[in-house]
């Protein structure tokens, strides 16, 4: 059973708000770069960058990060996922890096993402923006920018579909089967 949490318009408003919050918190777009976590975060990062451009007429660099090689559950997984592109075509040392992901859950992906980032340089700060925070953290990690807090049961699933992947933008909560 699925329940719609966010529609296209909701997502658009969230992107717009987060873009504003990022600029506000960092007192302007200078020194900011966005790094989206594969896969959903990459599309969101591009959209936020686009929004910042219209608000501030400044373009911030955007990169993508694959965290497969830094996961802490690799030795537990039967099937290793294909390693997708990490493309950070700029130096992150001394920069304000905003990590962007679609769903924040246990926090383990973010831990892996921070480890991966450190292999590319030493950012001045790392901040975190997520579309959905569904709770159930297993590590002491919190997001700086949250699209929507959704209380979930651990067995439920959050499905984020974006038009870049050929869907109508929407976020659904998939109920656990009894």
């Amino acid at each position: 059973m699925a329940k719609e949490l966010l529609n296209r318009k909701d997502i658009e408003r969230i992107i717009s708000r987060i873009a504003h919050e990022i600029i506000e918190k960092n007192k302007g777009p200078e020194g900011i770069c966005l790094v989206g976590i594969q896969r959903g975060g990459v599309h969101l990062a591009a959209r936020i960058a686009e929004k910042i451009k219209t608000i501030e007429s400044a373009s911030v660099p955007v990169g993508s990060l694959d965290i497969s090689l830094y996961r802490d559950d690799l030795s537990l997984r039967k099937d290793h996922p294909v390693v997708r592109k990490t493309d950070i075509p700029f130096d992150i040392s001394g920069k304000k890096v905003v990590l962007i992901d679609d769903v924040l859950f246990t926090g383990r992906s973010i831990r892996a993402a921070m480890d991966a980032l450190m292999d590319y340089g030493r950012p001045a700060v790392i901040q975190l923006a997520v579309l959905i925070d569904r709770g159930h953290r297993e590590l002491p990690i919190r997001a700086d920018y949250v699209g929507k807090n959704i209380p979930t049961a651990k067995k439920e699933k959050i499905d984020v579909q974006l038009q870049e992947d050929g869907f109508e933008d929407n976020v659904q909560l998939i109920k656990a089967k009894e």
Binding site: L69, Y70, L74, S75, D79, H80, V83, K85, Y120
Partner: protein, 306 residues
């Protein structure tokens, strides 16, 4: 891909091969970073068990293993010292007792990787077994071809030279056919199989065989595997089957020239071709690292012990 061993290209379907190549393409980016090491296989141990002399394959595996944060042990055995089944069995049982996760094995006899996989609870990667197979070479060649040609469907690939002694030829033939390419063998009758494998066209004339091909894979003339005379002299071989500029001109204009190395310049390939604009030989070396990282990574999933 939920597989434990890589022993023959026959085990890999089209989707498996592309999955390995996709991940390898990402590893190429890792190899360009300042910090070239990733923690993916931290805590795993690899033994490189080489019963045949090898510098480049062993070095390539060793660097790939280290880039993935594994602990690496090189177990080099002089080629002559162990040829009996029993001592091989004892060796691998000893290595098993160390509690390792991977064995990368090269041996002069066909089937040794299978034997190890049957008797040892580890992931086995075949780094060349006799004249049988060398799957990681076929995968790195496939990556190189894909980078230049985009896809494999309908590609004409010529494999030239010492086919019968070549595990590179066999693994490439199997892999390329799986991927949808067409394979030709070119060489003297003494170095070609008596019958063409299914789907393979054979040519005794290099001029004839190279006509219209997209990819040329040159093979090394393997003196160490030849215990009788297969051709009069190396100069004679070059004269009839060496890849020269004139012969290369028979292939498509954008054909690429590959060689698994080490090259015998002036025997199977002319120097000006080996260094010419169509050669992708050093790219093969870089791709070898990335492909071997990818294979280790995809074979290392947990809990699939048969």
């Amino acid at each position: 891909m939920t597989r434990k061993h890589l022993i023959t290209m026959r085990d890999l379907g089209k989707a498996d091969i592309h999955q390995i190549l996709d991940t390898a393409a990402s590893f190429k980016d890792v190899l360009k970073r300042d910090i070239k090491k990733v923690p993916a296989l931290r805590g795993k141990t690899v033994v490189n068990l080489f019963y045949e002399p090898s510098t480049r394959t062993r070095t390539s595996f060793e660097i790939a293993e280290k880039r993935l944060s594994t602990d690496v042990v090189n177990f080099a055995v002089a080629s002559s010292s162990v040829t009996k089944g029993e001592s091989l069995f004892d060796t691998i049982k000893n290595i098993e007792a160390y509690g390792v996760d991977f064995v990368v094995v090269r041996h002069s006899s066909t089937g040794v990787p299978n034997f190890i996989a049957e008797h040892m609870d580890v992931s086995v990667i075949n780094a060349g077994d006799g004249i049988n197979e060398h799957p990681t070479q076929a995968l790195l060649d496939a990556l190189t071809i894909r980078e230049h040609k985009g896809s494999f469907e309908g590609l004409e690939v010529a494999i030239v030279g010492d086919i019968i002694h070549s595990r590179v030829a066999r693994s490439n033939m199997i892999g390329l056919q799986t991927l949808g390419a067409k394979v030709r063998y070119i060489g003297p009758p003494t170095l070609l199989p008596p019958q063409a494998p299914p789907g393979v066209k054979m040519y005794y004339s290099i001029e004839e065989g190279l006509k219209g091909v997209d990819v040329i894979i040159m093979l090394r003339i393997q003196m160490e595997r030849m215990n009788k005379s297969f051709f009069p002299t190396t100069a004679d071989y070059f004269c009839h089957w060496g890849l020269t500029k004139d012969r290369l001109a028979m292939a498509k204009k954008d054909a690429i020239v590959m060689h698994p190395g080490p090259m015998n310049r002036g025997i199977e390939i002319a120097s000006d071709v080996a260094d010419g604009p169509q050669n992708v030989i050093l790219q093969q070396v870089t791709n070898g690292l990335a492909v071997r990282m990818s294979v280790l990574y995809h074979l290392s999933g947990g809990e699939h012990h048969a």
